[in-house]
């Protein structure tokens, strides 16, 4: 392809550059990103849930444990106080009671003050950690709520209060087993609860705190918050916890806001019997810190994976795209005619296989190009050889024609002189010989011409080989005898399936040839069966054919040996005709020869099936009855000499003759005779481009009768022969032997007569 046409314009690289490369990378990155992006949040979601659940769970456990401890602590104080009300109050038990009180104060540092109030609500004794103990003050507490409630329900715990606005205190009171035992009242410093609460550690910044039933803060690691005596009911989780008697808060309440306004995970528990709530809270920021780390890790992982994916994509795309580009570029170069282009792809995979296939394709393309060129060279050479052969053929033909023509000229000149009758007869005999030689040559040339023109169509029949062989033997018996040679045809019983005339022509040529080159000994013609075929062999004891000439002898005008070129040695066309006939009939021809001993030509023909076959042999032409006498013959030719000769010949046969060079002249001539012609003989090629076919048709039209007619022609070109044949008219080739002419005329006239009788 030198210049690409519009329709096959190759895709320019610019249109596709990098497309696959980008797609690969984008695809890789997208796949990895999707996988990670899907995994990350799911992972985080589950760890969030688990982390949160476990944190809240742990917080609730701590809250419950701490609440239980507070409850237990208070319970123990109450139990101790219960011992102190075992006995009714009296002066005799004062010392014992004091002792118990001192021991209790000693054991429980949180108790700052203990008081004993009798059943009438009179204070009998008060033991203090920071003030002087007093006995028998008789202060009246009978209407004090702590006394009233304690007497009513055996125990009492008052609201948390603050001494000097800073110390949280709780009043606990226990009634005795019997009503007249009175009650014991303890002022309990709640700092112990602060210590307890301070010990609760949740994570790094988690903490616990306690609110009382009025949502006042009573314990917090940050004591200053407690000392400020703040109220926490504005915190959602505290409010919700106060409202719900349920121990386990619902899911939604696990997140709250602390006093600083930061979000916290919160859990709470109720302190038994005191109505307090203990909260354990952890800032959400810390609770989720592992999650944030996880998110960051996921992010880093995603970024790293994306980079890796991009690198992998680049790597794979390079592995894919570089060989593909090499293929594309290679294909483009081959497309532009560079068949030497080879690819080097060394990837060890399908791409390498593709590249290898590509190289094989290119190599084959290159080979077939070279092959084509050599074929063209060969064919050109063949044409040249054929051309040379044609030239040689023409030269030989013209030479062989010139010789008898030259002889004829000499003989005709002798006839003009005064010569004796005997001498004249001898010269006429020589002239006839020269004419016969020329005739033979022209017939041979015509055979070759017809064979080359392909106008011969074999008429295949089945006939006995013996019939053919006997005709050959008969034909050449005389010639062989004259040369002193023996000729024998070995009898055969086989039938062959062939064109009788063409096969006879082959054998005639072979035997003629054998006779020509054999000077002593003889010729044998025989048959052998070979499978389903019959091999007809012609043996001679001639000079033999050298190895190097065995191909050439089948060429035209090739004669073996004699430099003196005896005319009797033949025209050199016999084997050429044999060769062409065999090719036409598709018969193998074989030659074996030994120089000085003789040769054998063998033709292999198919064996025919003899059953039910009648012998169908062309019968020899009977000597015809002379039907031509008195008939009017029209001869049309553009050569006056031919017209003259033909006219004389027909008149000598007793026919009426009209000769003309055109159809018009013929009609005029016929009109002069006043007779419808019995036969039209026309040359094929006439003047003004008319053909004999046209003229015959014109005359037939003119007389409105299908006057018998045939054509004659001096042409050897295949086209006129084929045209003439297509027209259905018989065609005789010039020069026409007078006997042949008479036979044809008689046949025509006889057929016509028969047709008329039938009519």
């Amino acid at each position: 392809m030198k210049t690409p046409r519009a329709g096959t314009k190759p895709i320019t690289p610019a249109q596709t550059r990098g497309g696959l490369f980008r797609k690969y990378i984008v695809f890789f990155v997208a796949v990895v990103f999707l996988a990670l992006a899907a995994n990350g949040p799911i992972d985080i979601w589950f760890s969030y849930q688990e982390q949160r659940a476990s944190l809240v769970h742990s917080q609730r456990e701590q809250a419950e444990a701490a609440a239980a401890r507070i409850g237990q602590y208070v319970k123990e104080i109450e139990n101790q106080m219960g011992w102190m009300t075992q006995l009714p109050w009296s002066a005799s038990t004062l010392e014992e009671w004091r002792f118990d009180a001192v021991r209790l104060l000693r054991q429980v540092p949180a108790i700052t003050e203990l008081a004993r109030i009798d059943a009438e609500g009179r204070e009998q004794a008060r033991m203090s950690r920071v003030a002087m103990d007093v006995v028998g003050t008789q202060s009246d507490f009978s209407h004090d709520p702590k006394f009233v409630q304690t007497m009513a329900s055996k125990r009492y715990n008052g609201p948390v209060y603050f001494r000097r606005e800073s110390e949280p205190y709780l009043t606990l009171a226990i009634a005795g087993a019997r009503r007249d035992n009175g009650i014991v009242v303890a002022e309990v410093n709640l700092k112990f609860i602060w210590d307890l609460v301070s010990e609760i550690k949740v994570g790094k910044r988690g903490y616990a705190y306690v609110v009382d039933a009025d949502s006042r803060l009573i314990a917090h690691p940050d004591i200053s918050l407690v000392l400020r005596n703040i109220e926490l009911s504005e915190l959602a989780q505290v409010r919700a916890a106060q409202l719900s008697s349920n121990e386990v808060p619902p899911e939604e309440d696990q997140v709250g806001t602390d006093l600083q306004g930061q979000k916290v995970l919160t859990a709470h528990a109720r302190v038994p019997s005191l109505g307090w709530l203990l909260f354990v809270e952890l800032p959400v920021a810390e609770a989720y810190a592992p999650l944030y780390v996880s998110i960051m890790r996921s992010g880093v992982l995603i970024v790293a994976a994306l980079v890796l994916a991009a690198l992998a994509g680049i790597f794979l795309a390079r592995r894919m795209v570089v060989p593909i580009r090499a293929l594309r570029d290679g294909a483009a170069r081959i497309g532009s005619g560079d068949l030497n282009q080879r690819l080097s792809i060394d990837t060890g995979d399908e791409l390498q296989a593709l590249g290898d296939q590509f190289n094989i394709m290119a190599a084959k393309l290159q080979d077939s190009y070279a092959n084509l060129e050599s074929k063209v060279d060969e064919r050109t050479h063949q044409l040249e050889v054929a051309n040379q052969a044609k030239s040689r053929f023409l030269a030989a033909a013209s030479h062989d024609l010139r010789q008898p023509l030259h002889a004829l000229g000499l003989f005709v000149a002798q006839l003009r002189g005064r010569i004796r009758a005997a001498e004249r007869d001898r010269i006429v005999g020589r002239i006839e010989a020269a004419v016969a030689a020329m005739n033979e040559l022209f017939n041979a040339l015509l055979d070759i011409s017809k064979l080359d023109a392909g106008v011969l169509i074999p008429n295949v029949t089945t006939f006995p080989a013996a019939q053919l062989l006997s005709r050959i033997e008969t034909t050449f018996a005389e010639s062989a005898r004259e040369k002193g040679l023996s000729l024998r045809a070995v009898p055969a019983c086989a039938w062959v399936r062939s064109d009788f005339i063409l096969l006879e022509r082959i054998l005639l040529n072979l035997v003629s040839n054998a006779l020509r080159y054999t000077t002593h000994g003889g010729i044998v013609v025989g048959c052998r069966k070979r499978g389903g075929q019959l091999r007809i062999e012609v043996w001679d004891t001639g000079s033999g054919i050298p190895q190097d000439q065995r191909e050439k002898i089948f060429g035209e005008f090739y004669r073996l040996g004699e430099p003196d070129h005896d005319r009797r040695a033949g025209l050199g066309l016999g084997l050429a005709i044999v060769d062409r006939l065999c090719r036409l009939l598709n018969y193998p021809i074989a030659l074996t020869s030994t120089v000085g001993k003789g040769s054998c030509f063998a033709v292999t023909v198919p064996i025919g099936d003899a059953r039910g076959r009648s012998v169908d042999v062309p019968v020899p032409i009977r000597v015809p009855r002379d039907v031509s006498r008195g008939k009017l013959v029209v001869v049309i030719d553009n050569d006056p000499l031919v017209l003259d000769g033909m006219g004389g010949l027909f008149r000598s046969w007793g026919c009426g003759v009209v000769t003309a060079d055109t159809d018009g002249a013929a009609i005029t001539g016929i009109a002069d005779c006043g007779h419808v012609p019995d036969l039209i003989i026309s040359d094929y090629s006439l003047t003004n481009g008319k053909t004999g076919i046209d003229v015959i048709a014109r005359l037939r039209d003119a007389f409105d009768t299908p006057i018998p007619a045939f054509l004659m022609s001096g042409d050897t070109n295949p086209e006129p022969l084929q045209e003439a044949r297509a027209s259905g008219f018989h065609l005789l080739h010039k020069p026409v032997d007078p006997m042949t002419l008479r036979a044809m005329v008689n046949r025509m006239l006889k057929n016509d007569a028969a047709a008329r009788v039938r009519l």
Partner: protein, 330 residues
């Protein structure tokens, strides 16, 4: 979990990295001062320092690593003034003061540098804070905070020495200005309620200790109460020794009086307060203002009885006293 929680989660991931470290000790070396109102050689000092540093260490503050602690001492006003100036020159973040007297001297030099007092009998009365819950100035700390202790000391003294009929309260008017007014009313009313004669015993300098006690001890039936006072702490050796010489049963406010030969002590655990003072230092170092840190009342009140001294005085310690005592020295 709602969507905004998820969003908050992601936002948190971005916003909270790194986790807030502003409250973490160890960012840089902080400088604090400690001013103790004793002589530099007082054997009590190492105990206080050890407890204080232990408290700090529990909170992540380590002297020499992220904290530089400068200790200064001063048993009298002049010495304290000089030490305070030295400390202030170091520009400490906080000064820890051992007693009201030290705070008083410090407040004469600075109104801005945070001061944490380990113990002050009456911080409101001394004008250090406006209220215990909200100090409101640059001073906060711990207090025993019970004016009723005047009666308690008397009761305990009477319990171990029932034959006492007059009890004196020793104080230095210069160093314990508030102390006398603070404890005395409760003491006086309690004394009258049990027919004991209350006696004020002002001591103006160390030299007066022996003569005053000798004069008091000349008559039998005398008892002595030594209220919390920097002066008494500094001169505790002479006071305890003179009380023994005069055979006067005495009760003190701090343990080391008893361990050094005093009959008994009833009051706050001072070393515990040094440990707890570290918590206030920690909070101030982390940015809290002393004005917002409530003054805490020490809930721990210990009774220490020196049986040896009691025997020397010929006093039989009642069973109930031993039951009440947190510590008995034999």
């Amino acid at each position: 979990m709602r969507r905004r929680d998820i969003l908050a989660l992601f936002a948190g991931a971005l916003a909270s990295r790194p986790l807030p470290a502003t409250a973490q000790p160890g960012d840089r070396v902080r400088v604090i001062g400690v001013l103790i109102g004793l002589t530099e050689k007082d054997p009590e000092n190492p105990l206080r320092i050890a407890n204080f540093e232990r408290g700090l260490r529990d909170l992540g503050w380590i002297d020499g690593r992220n904290l530089r602690i400068h200790y200064r001492f001063g048993a009298d006003a002049d010495r304290l003034q000089a030490s305070a100036r030295e400390l202030l020159a170091l520009q400490p973040a906080i000064i820890v003061a051992s007693s009201s007297f030290v705070v008083f001297e410090l407040l004469r030099l600075t109104q801005t540098i945070p001061i944490v007092f380990v113990t002050a009998a009456d911080p409101i009365g001394d004008g250090f804070v406006s209220s215990l819950a909200r100090p409101g100035r640059n001073v906060t700390g711990f207090t025993s905070n019970y004016e009723s202790m005047g009666g308690k000391w008397l009761e305990l003294l009477m319990e171990i020495a029932p034959n006492t009929d007059r009890v004196a309260v020793m104080f230095n008017p210069a160093t314990a200005t508030g102390s006398r007014a603070y404890f005395f009313p409760a003491f006086e009313s309690a004394a009258r309620s049990i027919a004991v004669t209350p006696v004020g015993m002002p001591v103006h300098n160390a030299a007066e200790i022996e003569p005053v006690l000798a004069a008091f001890g000349r008559a039998p039936g005398g008892g002595l109460i030594v209220t919390p006072d920097n002066f008494a702490a500094v001169h505790r050796g002479r006071i305890v020794a003179e009380a023994a010489r005069q055979r006067v049963p005495a009760i003190y406010s701090l343990r080391y009086f008893a361990t050094e030969g005093g009959l008994m002590s009833y009051g706050v655990d001072l070393l515990d307060l040094y440990r707890r003072a570290a918590a206030n230092v920690d909070r101030i170092l982390k940015g809290a203002s002393p004005a917002d840190i409530p003054v805490q009342v020490s809930a721990k009140v210990d009774l220490v009885i020196n049986l040896k001294t009691a025997n020397e005085l010929g006093l039989a310690v009642p069973r109930i006293m031993l039951a009440r005592a947190n510590e008995v020295i034999e």
